[in-house]
Symmetry: C2
Subunit: 336 residues, 2 copies
DNA sequence: GTGAAAGCGCTAACAC
DNA sequence: GTGTTAGCGCTTTCAC
């Protein structure tokens, strides 16, 4: 920049002024500076600028994962609105909740000048990362356990899971089994809603099946379910697991929904392509991402209140639910 | 850092020395500094460090998309290795190849202090973004058209598509139809490999079906295919489209692989859960991401040569392929 | 080994 | 409007 200033016969702040538009510059000097910039093919050094202004336009997103459907879509929503507002998004994956892992991942991130941080608490890694964010940083949590002192955007999964469970009950199922995905705490919203619906209806609460994020883990559970003839309806933690469960059922000779009704969660793009098409709860993950960026922006701009934003997933009824097969439901369910 | 130095009773350069390990420090002072860092919860400012050293530790990934399977997995691979090496990853989505869109998206990104850029050229947006990277920036292209002056990491999709097509031909199909996904240029590797296999075997080359990234677009094409009784085998641009195609076929009363054999591409996690399980080419996207970061790192470290890294996808044979249904293949194919 | 001094390239604050 | 003077927070000479 000093070169440009010399070439144009002005001072460096003047060059800076034409570059940033922070203050008016006379047309003559402006032209001279622009000519010099063009001749020298000068590109301002972003590092120096960031250091001098102290106003980062970068937000960090920390998550346990980036490629699973819900995560990827949420990140897409965040990036989309952030980009519109001239912010850039930095991604940090925290692979587990272990201290060493979290510290290592967060160190490189918080060393950057950050306008704010959004933590995806769909799982425990994201929740752990949240605690490593330096105090004073604008911060928004997504989903997971309710926060007291941090702004939070969520999808009301408990409500939707309750509806889905009630839907299954309404079809005549005695009770509904549940396959859960890894959660950020003891009990996630989907599991809570499922339990609540069963309790409200006075139905037995079966033991919970624990899946990983891999569809394959759903398949293994599906085979188990096929063998347990007391199970006629299953609520899965997400659609990918539900598809795995259906596959496992199929492998063992069970048909959906004739023998077992299965519902998923999320409305994955492939859910409607499945055989049978999956009944599920549509979650607007991209919207969740957008809302969380909105909350973060308010904080960056000085709104100090802790805010909360919630949206309700909507039921999508497709072909994977039906009445119980009387030949199956005969056996006594195992209460949890 | 000045605070830490004061707290520890040393000078700032000494603090810097314990932080970077650039020069030996006496055990006593080192301990004092470490204690002060811990007490003050001090985190070094990466921007200031970048300014002083001229070596930022941030890389930018520009892509047309972040949430589709191949993209998301590639990004995951990049982030994973980058993080191990102490780099942070910035994500920029370029929604289309239009100048205004590309410029807007890239402006915020290249204004950041960047160690390098990785451009995902799976589609045209990524390819356009590549041209906006300031000269002199370390740069690696992923997939897409072959680059002359830029290091590039690819998956040999053409080879795998050729194998897949040959597999279908070996099952007795007269020819193979193709459904392609949006590409970065006139003809992507998968389409090229498919065409080559057909040419080598002297088979007619049917018209190509154009899908979007949405599985639903595959479904519409599947219905079309069901109606065209000359088609007995289909190679799809990716697994999600293949699942859509199978769904469309099913809706129109066609069974896979009895009436039509369908193969996908990528080995999506749900491909093996599908009914029938999908025959496909396994693509190691995360590995692709890792390789591309390796290439970028070499450039950052001063290796000036343009490098090229290629890996071969592997065939995964499952149940979606069979012999042609003689009742179907009777009609005359429409050559493209 | 360690501290003082001098930048890295830019913008902000202040005079003029 | 425009130049001068100070930093932003760190690393790097260079003496000691």
């Amino acid at each position: 920049m000093a070169n440009v200033a010399a070439r144009a016969g002005v001072s460096t702040p003047t060059v800076s002024r034409v570059l940033t538009g922070a203050a008016p510059v006379s047309p003559a000097k402006r032209a001279a500076v622009e000519a010099a910039i063009a001749e020298l093919k000068f590109t301002p050094n972003a590092v120096a600028r960031a250091l001098a202004t102290g106003q980062p336009r970068v937000i960090a997103v920390v998550a346990g994962n980036t490629s699973r459907y819900g995560y990827a879509e949420t990140i897409r929503g965040i990036e989309e609105t952030a980009r519109e507002d001239g912010y850039t998004v930095m991604i940090t994956v925290v692979e587990s909740g272990e201290d060493a892992v979290v510290d290592h991942a967060m160190a490189a991130t918080i060393a950057q000048p950050l306008a704010g941080v959004i933590a995806l608490k769909f799982d425990s890694a994201g929740a752990a990362a949240l605690r490593r964010v330096p105090p004073g940083t604008a911060l928004v949590a997504i989903s997971g356990a309710r926060e007291r002192s941090v702004s939070q955007a969520i999808l009301d999964e408990a409500g939707a899971a309750e509806e889905l469970t009630e839907l299954l009950l309404a079809h005549g199922h005695r009770t509904v089994s549940h396959v859960r995905v890894p959660a950020s705490r003891g009990e996630d919203g989907r599991t809570m809603g499922w339990r609540r619906a069963l309790q409200n209806a006075g139905r037995p609460i079966p033991e919970v099946f624990e899946a990983t994020w891999e569809p394959r883990s759903g398949e293994a559970i599906g085979r188990l379910i096929a063998l347990d003839r007391s199970i006629t309806a299953v609520l899965c933690g997400n659609d990918e697991i539900a598809m795995g469960v259906i596959r496992g059922l199929l492998v063992e000779g069970c048909t959906v929904p004739r023998d077992v009704s299965v519902v998923g969660f999320d409305d994955h793009p492939l859910a409607e392509m499945w055989s049978p098409p999956l009944t599920t709860a549509h979650q607007d993950f991209a919207g969740l991402g957008r809302r969380s960026f909105g909350l973060l922006k308010q904080q960056i701009e000085g709104v100090r209140d802790v805010q909360f934003s919630s949206a309700r997933p909507t039921l999508v009824v497709r072909g994977s639910v039906g009445a119980p097969n009387t030949a199956r439901g005969a056996a006594e369910p195992r209460d949890g």
